[in-house]
Amino acid sequence: MSSGTESSGADTANSPLSVEEIKVAALAALTVAGSEAVLDEWRVSYLGRKSDLTNVLRSISSLPADDRKAVGASANLLRASLEEALAEKTQELRGAAGSVADALDVTLPGRRRRRGGLHPTTQTIRELTDAFGAMGFQVAEGPEVEWERYNFDALNIPAEHPARDSWDTFWLESPDGEGRSDMLLRTHTSPMQARIMEKADPPIRVVIPGRCFRYEATDATHEWHFFQLEGLAVDKGITFADMKGTLFEFARRIFGPDRKVRFRVDFFPFVEPGAEMAIDCFKCNGQGCSLCKGTGWIEIMGAGMVHPSVLRNVGYDPEVYTGFAFGMGVERIAMLRHGIDDVRQFAAGDLRFLSQF
């Protein structure tokens, strides 16, 4: 502000109203104010820079020394009480907004576009791959119709190995004629371990989401068609301890920072040592509840150090390279997180289910 403006303010103080007169006029005007716009004008008139009250306050220095204190005090008191009255009036007007002629029914639904959404499996895969992505894992994918060789043999599960019983298999008929072909619907995403290592040299750090199939009866917790997320890390110097740490970090990202993990011994022909990872139940914090069936722990995935035969099969020297692999059921993770009690919902294509996610 220039000093010129100040002096012009002083000029208007030629015929000053008394504090009491200002008060009467201001309160009268405030009583009849009917909208916030009017209130704004009122504020400018009675409390603004060019208002009478401001002029009174500015002119105090020109008053006789004896009067200064009294006028100053009463003017400031008035200012405070006018501000308070304004606030009250504003509140009053706002509170009565519903009665305003052009008011809207704010409870009517807003204009919005029809909501779509990603399948919960897709959403879960995205979260899982993001969690591993943050640890340097890339995403790869592979065929759903697979050779027997990749699905089994390359993974240290030769024909007639009793472990094949763990993977009830859909076989494709030979396209040329009678009998069974050597094509199958992959029973797990693990064949991608071999496919990836055949193509690339270490270091490998990859996760593989994908559709899998098992020839088994379906019920609320078993489905013949499901998704898995496979993981593989191979390089010099990768250890079981690294596997534990990596999967712990994953569990924290997906199930919460306070999660605990537990590894127990399990057997898969393509890893050694083999493990199964569980997390402490995120619903009851390990106290035991219906979700964890009273155990306090929830099984999440199988894992282990890549079997030297698997490494040898793809031309890696197991004396030089080590690594770990893991695999988990995507629907299972989604079911745990969303409290879904029937896995068959995932492929049912029912909007009553899908629209909830």
Binding site: R114, G116, H119, W147, F170, A200, I204, A241, D266
Partner: protein
């Protein structure tokens, strides 16, 4: 596999709570699925003594039994229908309030005082089935004479059984002793080995029988002995009980021992009637072409080539490791037995079992590959027990054909152990742990020379030993470290990126993603216009018999989902699926071409005061495609086309850079019927993602910034009258050619009242704008006139007055 705690305790001390023991077994790899408590729920069931049995006054088949059971009010009188109840027996007496299994309906029920044919029954005399011990319900359970009357039956018969879920690498735990060894190793306690010594009172064994292995590739070891002058008969109660807990019926004392040792050690054995074996000579050989054998179950079986048989010089007498032959079966008249304990090839055994459809307790174990060392121990154990339960004498020595000695040694270096586990285990700990597992360990320099025990077939490589050490010490003891070291170089994944963008775009545009089974019926695929140049691959064992094919189109799945939802969902139905069409071209794996199909049916939006709830149609499907293309930053075109799934005149090809990448349209009546959709129209689109990816090609670069003009635009509306056959696209193209037209929107299409028949009215809003100056009214009029002139000449369009 069931491991009764009472049986385990024979070999190892169990002092901790059972759930704790089960937990430790599970953590170390032998998963305890459940602990079945037998007797915990029985309540007032005690050992009773039958004092009197009298006829029931009103029922021939019922009797009144007086039972002394140590109760304060003296003996109880109960009504009993069992034929075998007799004075002097010790029995299981259930008082009022006992929880017993209902033998007919199943489930536990509480015993009430009741009147049976007019006589009050104060409790019950129980069968095994009622107690949940076995399925036996022919008669009551008779307890031994030394059972003390009044003792709670729980103390006498109660048990806990670990129901184990074993992994296929641990056939040793298919024997109770193997599980006990696990417990001992985990707990660091000692194992009490079963007694395998017996008096060898008979003649030298090689004077009684001979054995010969003709095919050592299928039989690594064959041990046998001869027992003479046996007394065949029923087994003692302890033996019957242990077998019953395994679900194995008692057959005879000799056969029961072979089964018992199998459940104890995991080694299947077989007993032949020695006198049925020609020349007392055993030959282990492959079957002859066309050879047949009638097995113990009375079935005559054709033996495939490579079936291993046990034979004498004249005939086969057993299917090796699967089932014995009927011709050498132990019978009541058997007195001399040749006892076999052999190591058959696991793979061959499994093939034979599969071909013959004969999964037996024996094949369950043999198929996993047993160690030759086990056969001799099991043979001696069984010999000892047979002498105990059937008398007789055992021959001196054993017959042992063992062509190639199995002496597995695994070398684990300190370096390897550290490299695999990432943790250093002290030498003392390694040695103690491995020895606790029954391994012989020798420290040689910085290595451990490890000889796994005869019961463990799964220790073959250093990594196996790493697991043994770490699992017994505990996986919990391994620290957690994060991955250090190299991160792989990034590899582009254009297909996946494109697919995920399309997914997100469709979801944002209000479509819900679905995932369907990828199998399909032939008729549905034909109905929705699957590509005819590929014949679909067929599953040998489809889950649904009417959908045996791997789908070559995903249309049917999505259309069906829309139709199904129409019956259950009140609002808008707008679905899409991304999935593979499996296209087999005659060799290799099928191409899994990623397709996107969207379907719309019923109201466009959910009911609301502001929503448009008209039926979705072609333009909804097209709009979704346009949104996807716009999100991808590419321009697409739509051209009239034909597709068997879509009604003629309501179908367009989607083109990108001149290449067809998909189709949009409204389904034909025939399609609606095929997918059971009763609401029209069913509007849909299909995008071939690999075609789209190819069409986009290099243009998939980030969008280039276009500078926008600073000069204002002017808007003019054109109300045009054209023949109905003239497309909006054609008009648009003409206007777009004028260099001042910047944006063209068709804002209204109308035909009907006020418009001549055969004509339609189109309102087009054109924004005129220049990059270099503000346009004058005159310049705009000039441009508009030029446009109208060409529209008139080329399309016969005239301005509507």
């Amino acid at each position: 596999m069931k491991a009764p705690v009472s049986w385990l305790k024979e070999y190892v001390d169990i002092n901790e709570p059972l759930h704790e023991v089960a937990h430790r077994l599970t953590m170390a790899g032998t998963e305890v699925g459940s602990i079945d408590q037998i007797g915990a729920e029985w309540g007032p069931v005690v050992v009773g003594h039958v004092q009197a049995v009298n006829p029931h006054p009103d029922a021939d088949r019922l009797r009144l039994v007086t039972v002394e059971y140590g109760g304060e009010d003296g003996p109880a009188e109960v009504v009993c229908g069992a034929p075998n109840v007799a004075v002097g027996q010790n029995i299981a007496y259930a008082g009022i309030g006992a929880m017993l299994n209902d033998p007919y309906r199943g489930g536990a029920t509480k015993l009430k005082r009741s009147k049976i044919r007019g006589v009050v029954s104060n409790g019950m005399v129980c069968s095994e089935k009622e107690l949940g011990i076995s399925d036996e319900h022919e008669g009551i359970l008779v307890l031994p004479d030394d059972a003390s009357v009044g003792t709670p039956l729980m103390d006498y018969l109660g048990d806990a059984i670990f129901d184990l879920e074993l992994t296929p690498n641990r056939p040793d735990c298919l024997g109770v002793l193997g599980v006990a060894r696990e417990l001992a190793a985990i707990g660091g306690t000692a194992i009490r080995e079963p007694d395998i010594s017996y008096p060898e009172d008979g003649p030298p064994v090689d004077s009684l029988a001979t054995i010969r292995i003709d095919d050592p590739d299928l039989c690594a070891r064959y041990t046998a002995t001869v027992l003479q002058n046996l007394t065949l008969g029923p087994s003692p109660e302890w033996l019957v009980k242990r077998l019953a807990a395994q679900g194995q019926a008692s057959i005879s004392n000799v056969v029961d021992v072979t089964n018992y040792v199998m459940f104890e050690y995991g080694q299947p054995l077989h007993a032949f009637d020695l006198d049925a074996v020609e020349n007392h000579a055993i030959v282990v050989r492959r079957s002859y072409a066309g050879e047949q054998l009638t097995t113990l179950d009375g079935v005559q079986r054709e033996l495939a080539p490579d079936t291993l048989v046990i034979a004498d010089p004249e005939k086969s007498i057993g299917l090796a490791g699967v089932m014995g032959g009927a011709n050498s079966e132990i019978s009541d008249s058997t007195v001399n037995v040749l006892l076999e304990s052999a190591t058959f090839n696991g793979t061959n055994n499994r093939i034979t079992a599969r071909k013959l459809g004969m999964k037996t307790e024996a094949t369950l174990r043999f198929e996993k590959g047993l160690r030759p060392g086990l056969s001799e121990v099991a043979l001696r154990r069984a010999t000892k027990l047979i002498l105990e339960v059937a008398g007789g004498t055992a021959a001196q020595g054993i017959l042992d054909a063992y062509p190639e000695k199995d002496d597995a040694v695994v070398t684990l270096t300190d370096e390897k152990l550290l490299k695999v586990m990432g943790v250093e285990y002290p030498e003392m700990q390694v040695i103690a742990t491995l020895e606790g597992l029954g391994m012989e360990v020798e420290r040689v320099g910085s290595s451990y020379e490890v000889r796994p025990p005869y019961w463990r077939p799964d220790i073959a490589i250093p990594e196996d030993v790493c697991e043994e050490i770490s699992r017994i010490v505990g996986y919990d003891e391994v620290p957690m470290t994060t991955l250090s070291g190299r991160v792989p170089t990034w590899e582009p994944s254009l297909e996946r990126d494109l697919r995920e963008k399309v997914r997100a775009s469709l979801a944002n545009h209000g479509l819900q993603e679905i995932i369907s089974y990828p199998t399909e019926s032939d008729s549905a695929m034909t109905a929705v216009g699957a590509p005819t140049e590929y014949s679909p691959l067929r599953l040998e064992n489809p889950m649904a018999q009417d959908q045996p094919y791997m789908r070559t189109t995903i249309r049917a799945s999505v259309f069906r989902a829309a139709a199904r939802n129409a019956r259950t969902w009140r609002g808008a139905i707008a679905l899409f699926e991304v999935g593979a069409a499996y296209l087999y071209s005659g060799e290799g794996l099928p191409e899994e071409r990623q397709m996107v199909v969207g379907a719309f049916n019923g109201p466009r939006d959910n009911d609301s005061w502001v929503s448009d709830t008209g039926a979705s149609d072609f333009y909804d499907a097209k709009g979704a495609v346009e949104a996807v293309l716009e999100d991808l930053g590419i321009e697409g075109g739509f051209e009239v086309t034909d597709d068997p799934a879509f009604a003629p005149g309501r179908c367009a090809a989607i083109t990108v850079n001149g290449k067809s990448v998909g189709v949009v349209g409204e389904a034909t009546r025939a399609v609606l019927e095929a997918v059971d959709c009763d609401r029209t129209p069913l509007a849909a689109f299909e995008i071939d993602l690999s075609a789209l990816g190819e069409a986009i090609g290099e243009s998939n670069a980030p969008r280039a910034y276009q500078p926008f003009t600073r000069y204002p635009s002017s808007v003019r509306d054109l109300a045009l009258l054209v023949d109905t056959g003239v497309s909006a696209g054609a008009i648009r193209d003409v206007i777009a050619k004028n260099r001042l037209s910047q944006q063209i929107d068709v804002v209204d299409v109308y035909s009907g009242k006020g418009v001549p028949v055969g004509k339609k009215s189109l309102a087009v809003r054109v924004h005129y704008q220049s990059d270099t100056k503000t346009l004058t009214a005159k310049e705009i009029e000039k441009a508009e006139a030029a446009i109208l002139k060409i529209l008139g000449q080329e399309l016969g369009a005239e301005l509507r007055s």
